[in-house]
Amino acid sequence: MSVVNYGTREITCKIVYYGPGRSGKTTNLQHVYSQLPEERKGKMVSLATETDRTLFFDFLPLDLGTISGFATRFQLYTVPGQVYYAATRKLVLQGVDGVVFVADSQSRQLAENIESLQDLHANLADEGLDPRALPLVMQYNKRDLPPAEISTVEELDETLNFRAVPYFAANAINGGGVFETLRSIASMVLGRLSAPAPKGS
């Protein structure tokens, strides 16, 4: 859980990019990474297979420096979208503060989007997190593809966004919508920041 720690003066938040395989989760992180000023560029850790698909997860620590006297850190993760990496997805979701659901806009991927969303809800519930309460943002990615191949944003939103959370059209490969999405989820997560529980409670 995200915590504003007045003792150590630190704020740390964990954001997970979730979605079906090849929807563009890693591409989101790569764009964020590409925009970081040199002095803030840590290491983006990507564990990919030979075919360049995320095997375990990506991890991008976003060290934002000191804000209002607090060392502020966002940890961005992706999960492997492929169905058979269920255990890894569960692991990455532990302690999550907010989720970006990256949906693939291609019409033929609609079933995969739905399956992944159901998987997200099931895994959150397993973690004891209320899927209806956790900060969530929808991103409809690959809007740069030909219109004949993709569902409209309205169609996607109607099918996937039953919580009516903020949503963003994106083409992450060109950076479109990436920071808008990140800003939105970061703002939602920060809005729920809580002070640390007293020791021993």
Binding site: V4, Y6, A48, F179, R183, S187, G191
Partner: protein, 72 residues
């Protein structure tokens, strides 16, 4: 390994700065409203409910005696 940084910062160099500005604003708001330090009101002590036999320390020679005593 760093897989990113393929696209470079080109004309999008302001994206991170805008993000930082928003985040800073948000954090400033939250930090103010959450700061627990300036609490000057002394914590009111809750009055203890009187319990019969409170303060009486009894000793049992062994656990069996204690069980018998408590069941009794």
């Amino acid at each position: 390994m760093a897989k990113g940084a393929k696209k470079g910062a080109e004309d999008d160099s302001g994206e991170f700065a805008e993000f930082m500005a928003d985040i800073s604003h948000e954090i400033a708001k939250r930090v103010e409203s959450l700061d627990p330090t300036p609490k000057t009101n002394p914590v009111q002590k809750k009055e203890a409910t009187p319990v019969p036999d409170a303060g009486v320390i009894r000793e049992w020679a062994n656990i069996a005696d204690r069980m018998i005593e408590e069941m009794g």
